[in-house]
Symmetry: C2
Subunit: 550 residues, 2 copies
């Protein structure tokens, strides 16, 4: 029996576009003589639909779209993901369902049993977990049809305080009682660079434990913060990966059950390394944020530093050099090389740049505020004014020319509040807000792997905000190697302060960094959406009290 | 038997302060010869602790604090709320528990069975629902000890698509099998002006259904967005309210079981009206945001319009006139009365004001941008620049003098995106971001009920942003009566567009308003925290996709 895995990129709530994409994949699969085509979790509305699921009209449109797709399933069966209404008088109003469509009808449905409700997941907000487990009999095969988390009943977390078994039931253990031949798992599983191996082993272990093959169909592409890596897997009954679809790309691929049962040879060769995947993830994230917003063009401020340099490279790759423009906005405190380095990069990438000194508005603000600030010393206020003037200029260009402003703050800065609200923290999308400064350098090396795109000057200079004379990041922060190690242990691993250790890390530095992290929640509350690449990104997956004392 | 209800205001994560507050209430209850004192849900860490619950060190501090409180419970029993560790190898790591403390020990514990996970609630993110139901025997009484949502198994929602029975179990039905004499419910139930009657009837129905009295102990005070109204109730076995503690105030009050059983007379007299409660809620929200941030002073921009006028009144009430200052920032487009009306109000409230024209920085920006904008028409860009200049000035004063900037946007504007990101949308706290424009006028009437505090000029002028000559809100928006009705039906009630009706509401206007709401998600994503008074506020309780098409 032939089946196709359709690893596609959906647009949330864009039912017409999603339907057309699904139907054209069905046609292609038929051309390849497939009997069965497998789409991903909530493929009909796109994942995650979030609170649109609270709207009856939205859920009804899902159902109508499913019916329209079912009518296209002639001589082929399709598995799609959609919310369905829980008709039981008690419980949440919806199920997260896998629907088997054939000859205009819904032939079978399985509802998700394990609903992730942690980090960026909040599925229990909308869905009732179902506890009925039924194998789907199909042309002599017995299929265990599962949805994403259903096979993640046992998983390791970066935070050791989490239990390995978050749920009180194992759907595959239940389904195994009905003697399935094969596991199908439809998913919308977002990328995290710390989870690549975890995901592979969770999938391999399930296949090996039950001694049957596993076919996965994962979503690809990005929806705002979340970037889905695709990488759908075909795993044989020994738990070996036979085939993996590409990372971050749409693909339709056809296999046969018989090949997998007869021991289709395992995949050889390495898959991409972590930095390469992060790079692809960020480019995907930018591209889809713009595509799905219907906006083509971006603007960003180019400071001559490494953060804006890398954001420019990624944006040019995602949008094309003709769609990216930059502003260089030197101040009285800018070093000469700031402008020349930025110009060199813009020229190298063939990107438009305009140079606007911020001196005039800065003077105007100084004069306006002089009567109020008489007798008061210069402090961070004047630094913030400069950062905010730049934001006014960038947003003016964005507003006038229909661009989105790209934010260039990194995760280390965002963590300790080293940034100005409504200043350098402004933007429609934060590109590297989930990338620690030390990883920025790894990304730069990757971008420069074949030729020097980002000039060496930009890479080797000491990081500085240039908001007062001779200012360097290390004046007020520990060096980034130490800072990032503390941040990772505190944010991703959620270690108690006294268990945060490493070379150069003292209790005093740790406590100072943690104070900064906690104090600056209010700034991050108003930050732009951040492309998520880690297991704990600032944003919807990390919700902290704003006026706590801890 | 004598018991005390302790309705207190906790500070999240401030274990020392919460402990002292709890212990001093225990002492006071002992002075009143109480046998039992009842605190509210998660009183030890303060509610809602959010992702601090993911930290082992945080949960451990809770446990240590509980032990310290237990040691103070000599000759008195206390019921406190705290997270406890789920020692079962499967499931979420914590329970949301009510702990009965006596003579240095935990005598009994009940774990929450129903975990609200909708709107601003996300308790299933942290807690395992418990399904063991045990009555607590205490001095000859059998107490059904429940936690907040446990008695909300049946409730109406503003969104008709929600089920009335969200859960598949009713804790009180289970506990009723063990013949309890009385229900105790500890809660942290946030205020919503549409839920006052609902809450009362849920509580009354439970008591009446089981024919036994109900004692509730609710948290008061505000934690960022959420404002807890207190209003703890004593209800007799007929479902009559015998006593209600005050709204939005701390109070400790002692009763006897015997009085309630013997039919303590029901409360007479009306409780406060809705506008009065909203007013108290907002003042509480401001006061606690500042108190719990450790910041005393506020700054805001006074435009001469009604929104900033009301925010000023509320801030002065919450913080004192000596702690609030204002900036008046006229532009070339400001009408003369803008400044004079604002001055009149500031004088009336005896609040400092400074007048700074934005002309100089505006000219500086115009000149700087002229080469880039050559040949392009004036548009919303220039309006946004003015709004952003004001934000730069306000934030400069905030930064220099240690104030928090209060945001003055209302819910109607926020809904349709009638505001400038990093401009008038800036601020540390949005005071009226959950108040529709038509309700602003109700609040103004309430504030002016005894004397004219807000000048009539400010009330009667047509709303205008004054960002270009002769601009009025109604140029680009329907009149507020119509707009607010559409917004309420779409946002709070989540009605499908075709079911939104009312005087003056056409399909065309509805669709235009909905398009604006959906288009402007990206602006609201970066808005300040909003004091929540409705059943659906912008912020953490409403999570929408950013790049959807719906």
């Amino acid at each position: 029996m032939r089946f196709s895995v359709a690893q596609l990129n959906y647009h949330i709530g864009n039912f017409e576009a999603n339907k057309e994409k699904i139907i054209s994949a069905i046609k292609k699969a038929k051309e390849e003589n497939s009997d069965l085509i497998i789409f991903s979790e909530l493929s009909v509305p796109g994942y995650p639909p979030l609170d649109l699921l609270d709207r009856y009209d939205f859920v009804e449109k899902c159902s109508r779209t499913v019916e329209e797709i079912a009518r296209e399933c002639r001589e082929i069966t399709a598995i799609v993901g959609a919310p369905t209404i829980n008709t039981n008088p008690e419980g949440k109003k919806l199920f997260n369902s896998a629907l088997v469509l054939s000859e205009g009808k819904i032939l079978f449905s399985a509802n998700k049993a394990l609903l992730p409700t942690y980090d960026i997941f909040d599925e229990y907000r909308y869905f009732q977990p179902d506890r009925k487990f039924m194998v789907f009999p199909y042309r002599g095969f017995r299929i265990a049809l599962t949805i994403c988390e259903d096979i993640w009943d046992e998983q390791p977390f970066d935070n050791e305080f989490e239990k390995k078994r978050l749920y009180t039931v194992s759907p595959m253990d239940e389904l195994a009682k009905q003697d399935p031949d094969i596991i199908i798992n439809i998913s919308a599983s977002p990328f995290s660079y710390t989870k690549i191996d975890v995901k592979t082993s969770v999938f391999r272990n399930k296949a090996a434990k039950h001694g049957i093959p596993l076919i996965s169909s994962n979503q690809t592409g990005a929806n705002a913060e979340l970037i889905f890596d695709g990488a759908s897997m075909i795993i044989n009954g020994k738990g070996e990966i036979c085939y993996r679809l590409p990372f971050f790309e749409e693909e339709l691929r056809t296999f046969t059950f018989e090949d997998i049962f007869s021991g289709m040879p395992p995949e050889t060769g390495m898959f991409s390394n972590t930095v390469e995947l992060i790079h692809k993830a960020l480019v995907t994230g930018i591209r889809d944020y713009f595509n799905k917003s219907g906006i083509k063009k971006a603007v960003l401020g180019l400071s001559g530093g490494i953060d804006s340099a890398i954001v420019l490279c990624l944006a040019v790759e995602a949008l094309g050099n003709e769609n990216v423009r930059t502003l260089l906005m030197p101040s009285r405190y800018s070093s000469e090389h700031s402008v020349s380095d930025a110009v060199a990069l813009a020229d190298k990438l063939n990107v438009r740049y305009d140079i606007i000194s911020i001196e005039k508005p800065f003077k105007a603000f100084e004069e306006d505020l002089a009567p109020l600030f008489a007798g008061k010393k210069q402090d961070v206020t004047e630094e913030n004014i400069q950062a905010r003037i730049r934001a006014v200029l960038l947003m003016a260009v964005a507003n006038k020319t229909g661009c989105i402003l790209l934010n260039t703050s990194n995760k280390s800065e965002a963590a300790v509040g080293y940034g100005t609200l409504y200043g350098d923290m402004a933007g429609g999308l934060s590109v590297i807000g989930d990338v620690y400064k030390t990883d920025i350098y790894r990304l730069v090396n990757h971008i420069n792997r074949n030729e020097e795109i980002i000039p060496q000057n930009i890479i080797s200079k000491l990081p500085s905000a240039e908001l007062r004379p001779d200012q360097f990041d290390t004046d007020s922060l520990p060096e980034y190697r130490i800072l990032d190690s503390i941040l990772y242990q505190y944010i991703e691993q959620q270690k108690p302060p006294e268990r945060i250790t490493g070379e150069g890390i003292t209790r005093e530095i740790t406590e100072r960094v943690i104070r900064l992290i906690n104090y600056n929640e209010y700034k991050r509350y108003q930050a732009p959406p951040i492309l998520r690449i880690s297991s704990k990104s600032f944003g919807q997956g990390r919700i902290m009290p704003l006026v706590s004392k801890y």
